[in-house]
Amino acid sequence: MKCQKCEKPATFHITDLTGKDGLLELHLCPECAKQYLQTNEKEQEAPKISGVLSSQLKLEQTAEDLKELDGKECPICGISFYEFRQAGRLGCPHDYIFFGEELEPLLLNVHNGSEHVGKQPKRGVCDTESQTELIRLRREMKEAVQKEDYEHAQELRDRIRSIEGEGKASE
């Protein structure tokens, strides 16, 4: 069998399940297959989230609302909703709470459920506030270092160490 894109023998037999019209069968030589698979893969990066999100947002939001929502930034890690929408990745655990309202329909869409029913940490849920505080302090310290405000950075580092110390002591 010849490759569908050039004249070389086809050794790759690809069934693409993600095509717009459903199934797409391809018979390609190694070079064309490589090219096809690589471009295909790039397109597929974080496809679900951005796809599901944008269709959802279009349905439920006006352009103005969307603009405002995109500008919303997590006070802990600093990620904007726009960045999450583009990348399909959240910035820190607190985003689940901060963007909770926006995430809820997305979770329902992907999982058909939005309440966890599986395993729980044995130690019970720990003091998440001090954990979140650590993430925020670490970020502020980075920013202080960037601004060359080393005095403030050191203060922050001491606070981080003391919270970490408390955590260890209670373990």
Binding site: H13, L17, P30, L37, A46, G88, H111, H116, C126, T128
Partner: protein, 357 residues
């Protein structure tokens, strides 16, 4: 454990034993976990990543279950070594190609791999040969408890284990079964099977993840939903469907034997012949032909070959493995020649063995 010695063994997933191992290569479960006191990877700088890596390493070294593991600093490995680990399914391509501090801990039998700083801070993975999801779950559940006794996970009562991508939130579990389905591919029924799996929210991917559908007729069947169902329910959802897939593949094989015997024998003999005589051969063509030969062995048509040996050839003809065997860096053309040489030697030896018997 020395990376340079890894290529000479098969690892757990190609051992070729365990239940239903003629069709099911391996069972795998992975859990995605994050530390509560660090941002997710996307918002980590190099210092955060280094801190996460050293924290994980230090805390786990205090736990008996982890003292026997081999830690590899993936950031310091050269690209050939990283590729070798990818080919052995011990690390993902994402971890291999990532940047900043990242690591993997592997046990001596290659059943467990613990990736640090992949998409999530921790990706715990357990592999078992053949169809053995319960075994994989028992082991990974215990490991997860052991890790959790030393590290605080990001967890929320409503959303479960919090992951960088919301598609993994809740249980953070991915249950995968790697199946070999050459007869369904030959009889063009595989699309039908995929469609029905998709309808029940299962995902089908190729051997090395997305975009590798055709690689040697190997497919990974895994769950998509991670939230709103318990780990047990998710495992059962995958486990319940596998017997049907196995049954379809067996029926397709029987159909080929009953109705298309000449055609089937011809395909298998030609595949075997090409592998025994080719002077240069790509990795893709090798996979394609080995897949036919593997089915031939399972159907008793090539009785001088053993499945574990064929499984090993799938792995050892991959680019990084081949270069480790040849002990030198090879470009694509050189690899195609060395691969053919290697296959000629390996498959000839079996012939002589058979004659000697």
């Amino acid at each position: 454990m020395v990376i340079d010695e890894l290529h000479s063994s098969s690892g757990e997933w190609l051992k070729g034993d365990g239940p239903q191992s003629d069709i099911v290569m391996s069972s795998r479960i992975r859990l995605a976990r994050n530390l509560a006191d660090f941002p997710f990877i996307r918002r980590c700088n190099d210092i955060d990543k280094a801190n996460i890596e050293s924290t994980v390493r230090e805390r786990l070294s205090q736990e008996d279950a982890f003292t026997t593991l081999n830690f590899f600093n993936v950031a310091k490995l050269n690209s050939l070594d990283r590729q070798l680990l990818v080919e052995r399914q011990l690390i993902s391509r994402e971890l291999s190609n990532g940047d900043g501090a990242r690591a993997v801990a592997i046990d001596g039998r290659e059943r467990l791999s613990l990736m640090v700083n992949e998409e999530d801070h921790l990706r715990i993975q357990v592999m078992k040969s053949g169809l053995n999801l319960d075994g994989a779950w028992d082991q990974i559940n215990q490991l997860d408890d052991d890790i959790e006794s030393r590290l605080t996970y990001a967890y929320h009562p409503k959303f479960g284990y919090l992951t960088a991508c919301p598609t993994n939130a809740g249980t953070g579990i991915r249950v995968s079964v790697l199946v070999h389905l050459p007869a369904l591919a030959i009889t063009h029924q595989i699309e039908k099977v995929f469609r029905s799996l998709q309808k029940i929210n299962l995902v089908v991917r190729g051997l090395y993840g997305e975009g590798t559908q055709a690689m040697g007729d190997f497919y990974q069947i895994s769950n998509q939903v991670t939230l709103g169902k318990s780990e047990r329910e998710i495992i059962d959802q995958v486990a319940d469907v596998i017997p049907y897939v196995i049954d379809y593949e067996r029926k397709a094989r029987q159909y080929l034997l009953d109705e298309k015997q000449n055609d089937l024998f011809d395909r298998i003999s030609r595949a075997y012949g090409t592998l025994q005589t080719a002077q240069q051969i790509s990795s893709e063509e090798t996979m394609y032909l080995l897949s036919r030969v593997r089915m031939g062995v399972n159907l008793g048509l090539l009785d001088n070959l053993e499945i574990p040996h064929i499984n090993q050839l799938f792995l050892r003809t991959q680019p990084a493995h081949l270069q480790k065997i040849c002990k030198q860096t090879l470009d694509t053309d050189q690899r195609n020649m060395e691969r053919a040489n290697y296959l000629r030697v390996e498959l000839k030896r079996d012939d002589t063995d058979a004659q000697a018997n």
